[in-house]
């Protein structure tokens, strides 16, 4: 199988376990985003795939080969760094040419002056220049070939780094937060370009980011990581709508998903602050009820809450409330024209569409929930 396959990968830095028994398969042509908060191990995982870090346990396969013990250069991967990692003394053209020169020329042929006199050097240099020109054209760097990285803007530097990655047609692209140092508008634009490059090259891509919107918009599948583990690996839509772990539910989505403390009796009937909310779950004990802000609705009667602030976002209103019995903060999204219908004293009742409600047990695992009656929502 082409692509990347990782099995049972573990890595410790001293006493701290950074990666715990990670398994992940990325098929050829697939774009997988590793997303998680700082220190979750996503960059370490990527560096293990690149061969810059070495795992304590587990195997990594790229294409048909077991590359676990191989050097980065033997793994046939290309990497893009957050810091761009361009060679500051080389021009754009020379920077893009480095991976080709390192592979197609031997040490003697790479020497300045003497190298050019050796047989074969000229021909290889010529073919390298042609490939560099194509990669540079693809990224719109044609006019900048003679510049040094220091003379380029952040966006242009990252393009050079991308060109250096695609010039060799590697078996896998590894990207370590390539857009983090760019400003917001450029980030959105470059995001689509990276996806286009990935589609055009058709190779397995692993993309590390702490920005969930990048992960959701770019990736075929998203792996949400925390504390050195992959909590869930699924398509962006599934990660958003059907999270299997409370940490995934709260990490993905902006504003944050609403969570209400709840409890299930031995009969499995779910109550929050003593109020039956019309759900029966598998299991008993303390639970967490979670609902996206856009799924919560205002109603004449239901869960009591008090409005704390209303934010106008243009296409919608974001209403911040507090659940009256427990004091839990909640958010809900409304159409802008609904502002006038909000009561002046701020006391409202909420209706939770049960088909959209997510229930997690005390360990944060998702539990199956069914409506008590055919009615779709509370009250």
């Amino acid at each position: 199988m082409d692509g990347i396959a990782i099995g049972g990968l573990s890595k410790r830095f001293g006493e701290t376990a950074v990666l715990r028994d990670i398994s992940l398969a990325v098929t050829a042509g697939e774009f997988v985003a590793l997303v998680g908060p700082s220190g979750c191990g996503k960059s370490t995982l990527l560096r293990c795939i690149a061969g810059i870090e070495h795992p304590d346990e587990g195997i990594i396969r790229i294409g048909e080969r077991d590359v676990t013990g191989l050097r980065p250069s033997q793994r046939d991967v290309a990497m893009v760094f957050q810091s761009y990692a361009l060679y500051p003394h080389l021009t754009v053209e020379e920077n893009i040419a480095v991976p080709l020169a390192m592979r197609r020329l031997n040490a003697a042929q790479r020497l300045p002056f003497i190298g050019m006199m050796l047989p074969g050097t000229c021909g290889v240099r010529h073919s390298i220049a042609e490939d560099v020109r194509q990669a540079a054209q693809a990224l719109g760097l044609g006019a900048l070939l003679a510049r040094r990285p220091g003379q380029l803007s952040g966006g242009q530097r990252q393009r050079v780094a991308l060109a250096r990655a695609i010039v060799r047609r590697p078996a896998a692209f590894l990207m370590d937060e390539p857009l983090s140092n760019l400003d917001a508008s450029l980030r959105v634009q470059t995001r689509r370009e990276i996806v286009a490059i990935h589609r055009a090259a058709g190779v397995a891509t692993v993309y590390v980011t702490h920005d969930q919107s990048e992960a959701l918009t770019m990736a075929d599948r998203v792996a949400v990581m925390q504390s050195g583990e992959i909590l869930q690996l699924a398509s962006p839509a599934e990660i958003y709508a059907d999270p299997q772990d409370l940490r995934v539910a709260t990490f993905i989505g902006s504003p944050r998903i609403n969570t209400l403390p709840a409890a299930a009796g031995t009969d499995g009937v779910l109550r929050t602050a003593g109020q039956i909310i019309g759900l029966r779950v598998d299991g008993a004990g303390p639970m967490t009820l979670a609902l996206r802000p856009e799924d919560v609705q205002l109603a004449g009667a239901g869960i009591p809450a008090l409005i704390e602030a209303v934010e106008f976002l243009g296409e919608s209103l974001l209403v911040h409330l507090r659940h009256t019995p427990t004091g839990t903060p909640l958010a809900l999204r409304l159409a802008p024209e609904e502002r006038d219908s909000l009561p002046p004293n701020g006391e409202v009742a909420l209706r939770l569409p049960l088909s959209r409600a997510l229930v997690f047990n005390a360990d944060g695992r998702r539990v199956a929930a069914r409506a008590l009656s055919p009615e779709t929502a509370l009250v």
Partner: protein, 324 residues
């Protein structure tokens, strides 16, 4: 192959994504009226440094330059302007020519050895996992110790009969020379001491330069195919050390040109001027024979050499190793 079509597709998508950026002109502040007050404050703030520079550096230099064209001798009641006579005499002064030749020889031995040695040691210490602080301190010791005291220690080490070096050589059957009193070996011995003095200083400068190289560049070099240490050195370490290397080379050459302490303590330029160097010749003319005018002429030659080195450094810095 289909790659051509693929590239075209990427290019096409890129084009659609390009958007124009809006430039907003910044309002210009009219600050003309503050200028006089500001410049007065500026002058007052720089006054202490300017005063120190003028009295300690600029005036003595100008005085030296002026003296170099006179026949002034210490204690003389008058002096007369003799134009270039001092410099004409320098050309025919065997002592000065030997001093100049010895100084150049000394610099050509000390500068490359202590620069390359410092670099090699820095790379080794950087690559090692333990003992960095220890090695750094050990090699830096000569740079912070008193040169005269260290010279006395070297006098003992290199003593032809009681010195440990010759004792060690004797033990393996070699009769060591009289290191500091034979005209064949004296300059080499002094150069070895010079290398020892400069090595640690260069090492610390190189270590600082090495830590400033981003780790990501080494990672990128490895991914790009730099398999062995030599490739990574050629691709990353050496070019990125460029500014450091240039600085180290200039400072080492300047320090080597002004070699004085070890010569004054160990050989006084002897035997038979075999270790005579520029600054020691200058010192002898000025403070032994009291020919201050002539001594100033030697100082001027020294000054020109040092300024030429500094000029070369700035020129190169602008051209070759400036990456920003």
């Amino acid at each position: 192959m289909r790659t051509g079509a693929v590239w075209r597709r990427v290019r096409f998508r890129r084009k659609r994504l390009l958007s124009s950026t809006l430039a907003i002109p910044e309002p210009r502040l009219s600050a003309r009226k503050c200028v006089t007050g500001e410049s007065l404050a500026g002058w007052m703030l720089t006054a202490p440094a300017a005063l120190a520079f003028a009295t300690m550096l600029l005036l003595p230099t100008i005085a030296t330059i002026a003296l170099a064209f006179t026949d002034y001798e210490l204690g003389a009641t008058g002096l007369s302007w003799i134009g270039l006579d001092n410099f004409a005499e320098l050309l025919h002064d065997r002592g000065f020519v030997i001093a100049l030749r010895n100084t150049i020889l000394y610099v050509t031995i000390v500068a490359p050895l202590s620069v390359l040695g410092g670099l090699a040691l820095a790379l080794m210490i950087e690559a090692g996992t333990r003992g960095r602080a220890l090695f750094r301190a050990v090699f830096f010791l000569p740079a912070v110790s008193l040169p005269v005291a260290m010279a006395s220690a070297w006098q003992y080490l290199l003593h032809p009969t009681i010195g440990p070096l010759n004792a060690a050589l004797h033990a393996i059957g070699i009769d060591g020379p009289a290191w500091l009193s034979s005209s064949d070996t004296v300059l080499i011995s002094l150069a070895a001491i010079g290398v020892w003095e400069n090595l640690g200083f260069n090492l610390v400068l190189f270590l600082a330069g090495l830590t400033a190289i981003p780790r990501d560049l080494y990672a990128a070099a490895e991914v790009d195919g730099a398999n062995n240490g030599w490739d990574r050195f050629r691709l990353v370490t050496w070019p990125l050390l460029g500014p450091t290397t240039l600085f180290v080379v200039t400072i080492t050459m300047t320090r080597a040109v002004r070699v004085f302490d070890s010569v004054a303590v160990l050989t006084q330029g002897g035997p038979n001027k075999a270790s005579q160097v520029l600054l020691y010749a200058m010192y002898e003319e000025g403070f032994t024979y009291f020919r201050l005018g002539y001594s100033a002429a030697i100082t001027l030659v020294f000054l020109v050499i040092v300024l030429a080195l500094v000029w070369l450094q700035t020129k190169l810095l602008e051209k070759r190793v400036h990456y920003a």
